[in-house]
């Protein structure tokens, strides 16, 4: 599969909710292998943008290209190459971690061995057979991370990935979804300093519009704070 120069390209992308614009005129290019961090207050459109890139929402205006393919027409071609970690873990509460991951592996065509590998990687092998409902939020989040990387996606879309994780658990998932994973990443963050540090490109959204778009190294935390004003 050819690797495009830019994993994500947006030109004037927009998404409506009835009459209101949830996203308006968003344009950016993210080079393959880089990390984009998105800041913005609640309701600014961060989740909408992430879900649009995940092919869960269709763009209503403009051009959206993910991994070289145009959405929504070619969404089917990129779905298996994207890993999405949203607010919901997307795990069935009455099934165990192992059962959930096996199910997702079957949907994504990943070999069963991968299930054991990711369980090991997030440190959940010992509790893999307990129903999700019995696990703590941190454990559920770890399993959600496992689900996200199960099919070895090229592009990671992460909505506040370290929520509910204590420092030890956060460190454990870093090789999978952090900088060290060497994948193209788009993540949202409410932590200006930490978010900027781990990123190449920074995007600030306010009321659905681009308020700030610059290389992360050149952005100050003060500029980020202004978004929330």
């Amino acid at each position: 599969m050819p690797i495009p120069d830019h994993a994500v390209v947006l030109r004037g992308a927009g998404r409506r909710y009835g009459e209101r614009a949830a996203l308006r005129d968003v344009s950016l290019e993210l080079a393959t292998g880089s990390t984009l961090v998105i800041f913005g207050p609640n309701g600014a459109g961060k989740t909408t943008l992430l879900r649009m890139l995940a092919t869960l929402l269709r763009p209503h205006a403009g051009e959206v290209r993910v991994l070289g393919r145009e959405l929504p027409a070619d969404g089917w071609a990129v779905r298996g190459r994207i890993g999405f970690l949203g607010h919901e873990p997307l795990l069935y509460r009455d099934l165990s971690g192992r059962e959930n991951l096996r199910f997702h592996a079957r949907l994504h065509g990943a070999p069963p061995a991968r299930v054991e590998a990711v369980l090991e990687a997030v440190g959940m092998t010992s509790r893999a057979d307990d129903p999700i409902a019995q696990l703590s939020r941190g454990m559920v989040q770890r399993l959600a991370v496992a689900r996200t990387v199960l099919h070895e996606p090229e592009l990671l879309l992460l909505d506040e990935p370290l929520a509910n994780l204590d420092p030890a658990a956060a460190a454990q998932v870093q090789p999978l979804i952090g900088r060290a994973s060497a994948r193209t990443r788009v993540l949202t963050s409410h932590d200006p300093a930490g978010g900027l540090q781990g990123a190449d490109l920074a995007l600030g959204l306010k009321a659905g519009r681009v308020a700030l778009l610059a290389p992360a190294a050149s952005v100050t935390t003060a500029q980020i704070a202004e978004l929330y004003a």
């Binding site: 995940a54 092919t55 869960l56 929402l57 269709r58 089917w76 779905r79 298996g80 994207i82 999405f84 949203g86 919901e88 873990p89 997307l90 795990l91 069935y92 509460r93 009455d94 099934l95 059962e99 199910f103 997702h104 079957r106 949907l107 994504h108 065509g109 129903p131 689900r147």
Partner: protein
């Protein structure tokens, strides 16, 4: 596609076995309804068209329970997102859910039909059994297809437990009509008569039409 359907079906069966949410309730509901019919109609035994009616109305309302719960896990636990993110044909979800509902209905009927024979049916059903099974299979198919479609419509609305039955009941009238007319001669007091072929044809036509429609429109219910 087949692999996806198998994976979805296996997951749903595992969930039902674990939670026992739908099938036991449907069975219990059926038996309770027979009791209510006994008191409501003030009859100890029914036969012919009355038997047919009681049986099908009960099965219909039990099916509504199953329809209401069909997509609840998907909706509440992120199952839709999880499925939509996978590189699979989206119609597989419809097929898997319809097959699952069909299976649930069959399992419920394994208990509910004998219970009906014991509690309320006058004539012995032994002779009627093969014909009855055929009607049940065709009717279950119709209920499964229409029910899955209605469940998918209703799950995204705010008043889903109300909208589901309101949509499903009128749509299932032809199924009830044809099934009842088909089983009436089977449950006659004097012994089972022949199975009327034209009502079976109506059922088959209904199943076919709605299956085709479902296949065509289901994708539109999932996408956003």
């Amino acid at each position: 596609m087949r692999g996806t359907i198998a994976a979805l079906l296996a997951k749903d069966m595992a969930l039902e076995l674990r939670t026992k949410e739908s099938v036991p309730a449907m069975v219990l509901f059926s038996i309770t309804t027979y009791v209510i019919f006994h008191f409501g109609l003030d009859r100890n035994a029914v036969s012919g068209d009355l038997a047919s009616g009681v049986l099908w109305v009960t099965l219909l309302f039990a099916a509504i329970l199953g329809i209401n719960r069909l997509f609840v896990a998907e909706h509440e636990q992120g199952g839709f997102d999880g499925f939509l993110l996978a590189p699979v044909d989206r119609t597989a979800l419809f097929v898997a859910k319809a097959l699952g509902l069909f299976a649930f209905l069959c399992i419920v009927e394994v208990v509910a039909v004998p219970a009906f024979a014991v509690l309320l049916l006058g004539p012995s059903p032994a002779q009627a059994l093969p014909g009855l099974l055929l009607v049940l299979v065709l009717a279950n198919a119709g209920v499964a297809v229409t029910g899955t479609l209605v469940a998918a419509l209703a799950i995204q609305t705010r008043a889903r437990d109300l909208i589901g039955p309101l949509l499903a009941l009128p749509l299932l009238v032809p199924v009830v009509l044809a099934s009842a007319r088909a089983t009436t001669p089977l449950l006659q007091q004097g012994g089972a008569q022949a199975l009327p072929g034209d009502w079976l044809a109506v059922l088959a036509l209904y199943d076919l039409v709605f299956a085709l429609i479902a296949y065509a429109v289901f994708d539109f219910l999932l996408e956003d």
